[in-house]
């Protein structure tokens, strides 16, 4: 299953709904291009909804980290929403769970942005 990304605005926050596999190649490239495009257009509050992401490999994890630092370096915030157990476990074992601000409710996540 290829990766898909669509964006929507909720109370000033850009929510990116991702689905499929974030792996080396197309999946990682789509995520990278989407975040860079948003940052380029001035978005500083980005919420990545990973609820329909079925699989992430080490390249995908790297892309999430890169997205996080890219947004932060522009003075913005990037948070994660709706992790599946598989993705949650991956972030735990790589010690990234505490680096990212992870939410499991969209309304709470949106209102948590400064």
């Amino acid at each position: 299953m290829t990766m898909k990304a669509s964006t929507r605005q909720v109370n000033g926050v850009t929510v990116v709904d991702l689905s499929g596999r974030i792996t080396l190649g197309e999946g990682s490239v789509i995520l990278r291009d989407t975040v860079r495009d948003l940052v380029g257009k001035g978005s500083k509050k980005i919420l990545l909804n990973l609820g329909d992401v079925t699989y992430i490999d080490s390249s995908g994890i790297g892309e999430l980290v890169s997205a996080f630092t890219t947004v932060r370096n522009q003075g913005g915030e990037l948070k994660l929403l709706n992790l599946t157990k598989k993705v949650h476990d991956l972030l735990q074992i790589t010690k990234l769970y505490t680096v990212f601000d992870v939410k499991d409710d969209e309304a709470t996540a949106v209102s948590s942005f400064k």
């Binding site: 080396l24 490999d57 080490s58 790297g62 980290v65 890169s66 996080f68 630092t69 991956l90 790589t94």
Partner: protein, 147 residues
């Protein structure tokens, strides 16, 4: 496939990575591993295949990746070799170290070790060979015996 060994010689492409990953999941299931264990095995194989194709062979069309799967009865042994410039295990940084936590790459071998029972790295002339071993618990043995 108890006692059997299956080998593939593959081009240095992302399609080959997917082929190696899918074969690993199918063969692990056939060997009686649980769904969760099959996913861990296929993820580890994917990481090793990415390492071979990307970091080892650098997508060079003249270099091949070889992948072999063997069910020894006690464990599933997957060997992935490339023809690249080689890797010194001593040079692998710890991705959990605070200074490396926000680096974009460097987690592949760590994930292989997390998902498998044993990971061996051997330097070839030329290239690198990863041997990934997943031992079977009693549940997996019973599951395969009933097939």
């Amino acid at each position: 496939m108890t006692g059997n060994r299956v080998s593939y010689t593959l081009d240095s492409t992302l399609d080959s990575v997917n082929t190696a990953e899918e074969a690993a999941e199918q063969l692990a299931a056939k060997a009686g591993f649980s769904e969760e264990e099959c996913q861990k095995i296929s993820m580890a194989v994917r990481e090793a295949a990415v390492n071979a194709v990307l970091h080892g062979n650098a997508y060079d069309p003249n270099k091949k990746m070889t992948v072999s799967y063997e069910n020894t009865g006690e464990s599933l042994v997957v060997t992935i070799a490339d023809q690249g410039r080689g890797l010194d295990p001593k040079d692998i940084p710890d991705p959990l170290a605070p200074e490396n936590l926000l680096k974009q790459s460097g987690r592949g071998i760590f994930l292989m070790r997390s998902f498998m029972d044993e990971v061996r790295i051997r330097t070839l002339q030329p290239g690198t060979e990863f041997t990934l071993i997943k031992r079977r618990g009693p549940a997996a043995k019973t599951k395969e015996a009933s097939k």
